[in-house]
Symmetry: D2
Subunit: 313 residues, 4 copies
Amino acid sequence: MPTSLCDARGVYPIAPTPFLDDGAIDWVSIDRLSEFYLRSGATGVTVLGQLGEAPKLDAAESLAVAARFIQAFGRTPVIVGVTAPGFAAMRALARESMAAGAAGVMIAPPNTLRTDEQIAGYYAQAAQAIGADVPFVIQDYPLTFSVQMTPAVIRRIVQDNPSCVMLKHEDWPGLEKISALRGFEHDGSMRHVSILCGNGGLFLDFECERGADGAMTGYAFPDMLCDVVRLQHDGQRDAAHDLFDAHLPLLRYEQQPGVGLGVRKHVLQRRGLIQSAAQRAPKAALTAAARAEVEYLLARLAQHDPRAALPPL
Amino acid sequence: MPTSLCDARGVYPIAPTPFLDDGAIDWVSIDRLSEFYLRSGATGVTVLGQLGEAPKLDAAESLAVAARFIQAFGRTPVIVGVTAPGFAAMRALARESMAAGAAGVMIAPPNTLRTDEQIAGYYAQAAQAIGADVPFVIQDYPLTFSVQMTPAVIRRIVQDNPSCVMLKHEDWPGLEKISALRGFEHDGSMRHVSILCGNGGLFLDFECERGADGAMTGYAFPDMLCDVVRLQHDGQRDAAHDLFDAHLPLLRYEQQPGVGLGVRKHVLQRRGLIQSAAQRAPKAALTAAARAEVEYLLARLAQHDPRAALPPL
Amino acid sequence: MPTSLCDARGVYPIAPTPFLDDGAIDWVSIDRLSEFYLRSGATGVTVLGQLGEAPKLDAAESLAVAARFIQAFGRTPVIVGVTAPGFAAMRALARESMAAGAAGVMIAPPNTLRTDEQIAGYYAQAAQAIGADVPFVIQDYPLTFSVQMTPAVIRRIVQDNPSCVMLKHEDWPGLEKISALRGFEHDGSMRHVSILCGNGGLFLDFECERGADGAMTGYAFPDMLCDVVRLQHDGQRDAAHDLFDAHLPLLRYEQQPGVGLGVRKHVLQRRGLIQSAAQRAPKAALTAAARAEVEYLLARLAQHDPRAALPPL
Amino acid sequence: MPTSLCDARGVYPIAPTPFLDDGAIDWVSIDRLSEFYLRSGATGVTVLGQLGEAPKLDAAESLAVAARFIQAFGRTPVIVGVTAPGFAAMRALARESMAAGAAGVMIAPPNTLRTDEQIAGYYAQAAQAIGADVPFVIQDYPLTFSVQMTPAVIRRIVQDNPSCVMLKHEDWPGLEKISALRGFEHDGSMRHVSILCGNGGLFLDFECERGADGAMTGYAFPDMLCDVVRLQHDGQRDAAHDLFDAHLPLLRYEQQPGVGLGVRKHVLQRRGLIQSAAQRAPKAALTAAARAEVEYLLARLAQHDPRAALPPL
């Protein structure tokens, strides 16, 4: 079992899937984004997540997108979202992605799971379905998936499945959960796995201090996320918070469910990192009012962070 | 637009997907089942539904199963379940199935839909995604999908989308919904579509009387369903209820969520219609106690219906 | 701690709250119903349950209704539903009911509970809130409350709370749950509590065989429930099923969510046991079509059970 | 019908219910809080909301708490949360509160509502239950109540019920909803009602710009909320955002579901506005780590807003 993902640190951006205005996959922007992520200090990337509009791709497209990111990232690890309504499709994408060079896969629970037994049972079956040689990441995101995993359930999944290597932590609230899980490690009841935090980064400032290893989220300034995690790891707490707080108004704006993807693609396009902000259906386009609000937030942010100083629309 | 499905009547069994004990698809049993359905008087069939373990097949298997049923059914219509987490996969299976000879497709709503707007919007987008030339069936099954469609929303979907041809009705309770929808037809506010009822057949005795055109469900005695619908359409009300009531104890037993599939495959195997009762994971095997209860119910049923007199285990 | 409820057997009907046509509480019918229940062989009764329209009473009315049933039942135990959105109101009704002579109280979980921890924690807090001297019944009804309790969670509640005396079992499906809980008793991991089954009685025929002690449900022929449980306990299996099966078409009709209360009050009124079928708002009145269906079911039932032979409307 | 609440502007803090360490209601702190709210510029107050731990009070306590706030607020309007599982209890508290001098009541939907019909029907029944003379506020908070109201449904409630005077807006995301509702006013399809925004204030900076009349939320610096709303109404956009942004790190921290109440009571106690941060069960106490994080946030905030410069713990 590759142990590297268990020890992952830093920032794994959740990559959007760039489309051209006609809905075709924008391969050029995948390369451009990847190059930018690496230059910003990303230590990995996750593709085909919720933000990546994964359900809007068919099976062949999913594999092709994953493969393109893998190629662009070289030796830097790529995690592929393989969440699916059934194990046949999950297994197919997981094994094909690993064959293409992925470092691991990410699995979210179906929103019908309720009891601890059901959750632990699901991950055990999923781990078996994809094969014990495929490292996997638990995605713990109750706000979207309606599945609530206690720290004890996560521990059980980790202990029962040697191929579990990481937690994408995005419970809300979640700070105490990080402390509880790190407490399990300290008391010897759970082996170490990497904890990278999602939830739009809304609590990243404190998550690192609680014991998280970094971030895995799609905020449109992943370079800021990298800086905050690095500052925290370097013990520069105030500087980390200063930078984070400057971004918080925009970051908070991006975290709105449904709207968030539109904002992120819009800002990434404004930054020149993708050619088009197009989404495939179902999509939620930004209104003129929302675009103006984003411009205002960018202008205010630019007073603190020159990366937000963008050429006018 | 083919109008035949709008006027569908009778019984479209929901076909299980038969597997061999090793999990491979059992092509021989598909043919045997199909031959049995046709002999029993089925006027169509629906494949790759919930009962058909559709999410447990990968994309290639799904199409192959649909094609095999289509071939076996000849000119009798086959409806293919194409429910998917995204429109790309839905479109692919829908168009490939139609190319293989399907009569139409069935679409269940994602369980995140809440408001009337969301539901109507989803079906409009789905209809566009699969193409306006593909007849589709609305699956209205709140108990499983947690999406509640009022009669007014169903009317809106029917009126907005000319390719909508049928309602698989399995709201619970649902008798008044049938009356309301037929009332919309009578007052001219909704065009006619076929209404075939699911919900395990638990209310089939009265559904026909309320205006439903028949049944679309997976009860292991589809031949009984055909008889009840025929008796009702022939005006033999008491005889229809007598036959239905004799089956009700077993039918009720089969309708248990989760357990039902195991019971149905078990009884179909007992009847010699499929080779194995095997399910793919995730599965819920029948306990010895449950198997004994089914035997008891079959023995009691055999006193009223000789089709239930099966050779001992 | 009174041990009697732990060993309860037989049938505890869920009593409706009878109203007059103007919405006032019908005290006369409470007495008449109680007298009928006792004459039918009920070994207890449960009041202020879901069926009892409990949320439609204010605090003073709730206590008054409970007290009237308690007075009418004499030494036969009365269980009072005290489910409430907070512990203050729950405690008040529980303690007042016990002071009035109730044998115990019933508590359903709030539908926000998800994890095993949350469920066990809730019942521990509730038990403390009402006082350790108040025997309580767990209501396990996921179809209505959306809370899924595994057998292990129920065991934990029973073991953690000495005042837990009974399970109102209405999971669906639930037969295996009864077997699992009785298995816990046999292996010594759980003390004995009474299990009375709800769910409209839809599986009562087999629930007794699995180890349930009887029924707690609101079917409008509680006298039939008493007979079935007695026949099962006397070892007359076929006779029990014969009687049950004769009632199943009507019983199934009554079990429709939302509609069920209207059907039950209507049939109880038809039987002369309550003066009016009136409900307080929010209510779902029976349509003419539904009333005609009930008449048809009653007429068919009367061929098997003379108790269903009612004077014409 | 009193029209004043229809035209309400400014800030209605959601008041917590202060308890002493032993769980008794802290009447002195109610007066102190009220005096502080008025001094801060609050134009009203809402009591017995979610934040107010309303379900943890019994009927008599609820009325007494409401009456105490009403007395303390004098002629400034007090809105009383009367959300209840049934109309009898809702009516009782509503009418008693109005008799005690409340300006109106607030009603949240039960979390079982799904369709537009159900939502509109519920509010029509509630309005009738409390009486047409009682002004009521719609609480639109899907994140907590799981009920999704479209702008069209809100319009329908407003138009159907003359006693509807205000929307407590806390959909998430919600900016476009404000624009849509104000658009309905402009096109003449909906009469004017006040829109005060909740959701912890997380988007208050833009909500005013979209047409909201102010805030109704429980952030522990209601004085800041008053300032932001006043600055926005005075056209000092940048100043409003500067102040808001300074508070955003703490405000965001407070908005964590479950934890939020603990943080708010802790900060209010730190500010000397309530004597104790005690909650009644079920409660979620702040961990030492959380308290330290709040102190850090307060210290950072004090650099921008002297009101956050508190004496050390």
